[in-house]
């Protein structure tokens, strides 16, 4: 009997055959990314271990490798060994760690496979060391040597090569928008209702997660209804509408910057005043906070979350909401990149209190909220799927305790994970975006309804 040869995983092959040049490349990129605040962090962690209770990986899995301080010390230990005098002189005495093939493997497992970059350990524990940022620096160093897990890297490259991370062809996007426009007209009863594409001079350029046209077109309809009801001047871009940026997760600043720059240029080409980011946690953190750093320039225009825009509409009386249209108990999940790391904390609460009859907060919430486990590229990196689902147990318990029937999350990565958690932990919950709930509650002007 002839045996079929086992197909080798090229990624494993690469990890097994790292060269000195690979190690040198990783170290050079690692060093390049450090600024004074990062170096100070190297000298700040005293390995007290109090960060253990911050991490949903550690709380659900309980392995030493899940401890935030352990992950941090893999990173700062390498910095100490290669870039500090004490680390060079005293080595392991001070926790310094040489970067070799074994350490690279450990970096990959711990930094890609055991960290979401949720920042909970930074905000609520320890001395305030930006642990997730240091872990991202190490991820970026691995990216320089082509060592990003291939599933995550392919998501980045799909966006780079095809304009969006789902690889949606331009015509399919335009067809979807045309279809949703018909739905908008039916929903509003207004044959003049439009979803503008490439409208020059529109006030807002709106961007979305490509999962919306691909799998959740009702999210597009909800946003269109919001803008319609508010009488907003807005547009999509036919080419660059993808708010996601998996370069944030791979650590690759060059590709991350390229993806962000497309949105910046699309806004410029269309002459929009404001770049509005759809409900995507990491997309918000990328474009609002990181993109100016990646592109090394200040943006001369505002970058806002659609939640901020929608909250403005309600405050200004541009839209009116009827909460009785959302009678089921609703709870809210706080996406880490939008809330804890992004600062958009109260807008979604303001909207839900206006749009839903029975809004229940999870405990803990806001900055203290637990990560759902879906971000950090975890949904893309299928090799870590079991860990991802296990780490979501805390979130599932949080949801169960609220007894809510609907979980709202202003982030499509979170929505995917929360949907899986609902199945895995038998929560029986429906998952929606904030704008979908708001759209359901919008009371359209009477004359428009009649027409």
């Amino acid at each position: 009997m002839e045996l079929t040869p086992v197909k080798k995983d090229p990624y494993e092959e690469k990890l097994q055959h790292l060269t000195d040049a690979d190690i040198a490349l990783i170290l050079a990129e690692f060093r390049r990314r450090f600024r004074s605040a990062d170096v100070a962090a190297v000298h700040t962690c005293v390995r007290c271990g109090l960060c253990a209770d911050a991490c949903h990986y550690y709380l659900t899995n309980g392995e030493l490798e899940d401890l935030p301080a352990y992950k941090l010390n893999l990173v700062v230990g390498v910095f100490k060994r290669h870039f500090t005098t004490a680390g060079k002189l005293f080595g392991r005495w001070t926790g310094a760690k040489k970067l070799d093939a074994a350490m690279v493997r450990e970096w990959v497992d711990a930094l890609f496979g055991r960290c979401r970059g949720c920042g909970r350990c930074t905000i609520k524990f320890t001395t305030g060391i930006n642990i997730h940022a240091l872990i991202r620096a190490a991820r970026g160093a691995l990216a320089a040597a082509g060592l990003v897990p291939p599933e995550l890297q392919s998501t980045v490259m799909t966006a780079v090569e095809q304009g969006n991370n789902m690889g949606i062809p331009r015509q399919e996007w335009l067809d979807t928008v045309a279809w949703i426009e018909e739905e908008l007209q039916a929903e509003t009863g207004d044959p003049q209702a439009r979803i503008p594409i490439d409208a020059k001079g529109a006030r807002l350029l709106y961007t979305v997660n490509p999962r919306e046209p691909k799998f959740f077109p009702l999210s597009l309809l909800a946003a269109a209804k919001l803008f319609y009801a508010a009488g907003e001047s807005w547009t999509f871009s036919s080419d660059y509408y993808d708010v996601t940026n998996y370069g944030l997760y791979s650590g690759d600043d060059a590709h991350a910057g390229l993806l962000s720059d497309r949105l910046v240029k699309a806004r410029e080409d269309l002459g929009a005043e404001v770049l509005v980011l759809g409900e995507c946690g990491h997309g918000f953190a990328s474009t609002r906070w990181e993109a100016p750093q990646w592109l090394n320039k200040r943006f001369p225009f505002p970058v806002r979350s659609v939640l901020e825009v929608a909250a403005d509409y309600v405050r200004a009386g541009q839209i009116s909401l009827d909460p009785s249209r959302n009678p089921k108990p609703i709870t809210l999940h706080d996406p880490c990149n939008l809330v804890r790391l992004g600062g958009v904390i109260e807008e979604q609460r303001y909207l839900l209190k206006k749009a839903a009859a029975n809004f229940i907060e999870m405990t803990p919430n806001r900055q203290k909220n637990y990560c759902c486990g879906g971000g950090g590229g975890q949904l893309a990196m299928t090799r870590y799927a079991k860990r991802r689902l296990a780490s979501g147990r805390i979130k599932a318990e949080q949801i169960r305790k609220t007894e809510a029937k609907i979980v709202v999350a202003p982030c499509h990565n979170c929505i995917d994970q929360l949907t899986e958690l609902s199945r895995e932990y038998k929560l029986g919950t429906e998952v929606k975006t904030v704008i979908e709930v708001v759209a359901d509650a919008i009371v359209l002007p009477r004359k428009t309804s009649k027409s």
Binding site: H43, R47, T94, T127, P292, V339, G343, I345
Partner: protein, 208 residues
Amino acid sequence: MTLIGLLRILTIASAAFSFAALVFLISHTFAFGRREYLSAPRGYAGNGIIYAFGRGMLEKESVALHRPTFIGGILYHGAIFAGLLYLFWTVLLPKIGPPLWAFRPVLLAGAAVGMSLLIKRAAKPHLRRLSCPDDFFANLFVDVFLVLAFAHTVFPSLEPVLLFVSILLFAYIPLGKIRHCFFFFYTRFVFGLHYGRRGALPGSSREA
């Protein structure tokens, strides 16, 4: 010159070396350059920094979940600073002795807490595996210093031993983890600045 006189001079010299080495370490750290924030702020950085050093220190979940460790940590660090004050008082103002009644309980409590932290580090498997030799040594070194400082309040004849240990301790500070005594404050400052300008810390947002 007497032995005590020599040790006192060496103590001051060692402290000066420690300070100079720390300044060098700090300048080396700042040589890596400051990260210029290019995104438009959404919150007040100043409020974030105030939060980081105020409410933020008490609101940490690590405080709520590990209250004995938190209180012990404050006591320990307070005792270390008290120990240093006691040492310099002894060296620089030998004729005006320090108020022993004030130092004794602080130093004793600090030493006890320090030892308990050391035992905790050795006893908890994950904490032990997370630790490097410096973690144990630095803790032990400081505990010995506190014990000697306390013992000196009772037995003044122990001054040569206290000074000798102090000389070694000062020499060790820039080399090991005790250097966090400065970097903690800088890291906390950057934390407040970074998340304050994002409006992500309580009381820092411009929007809501």
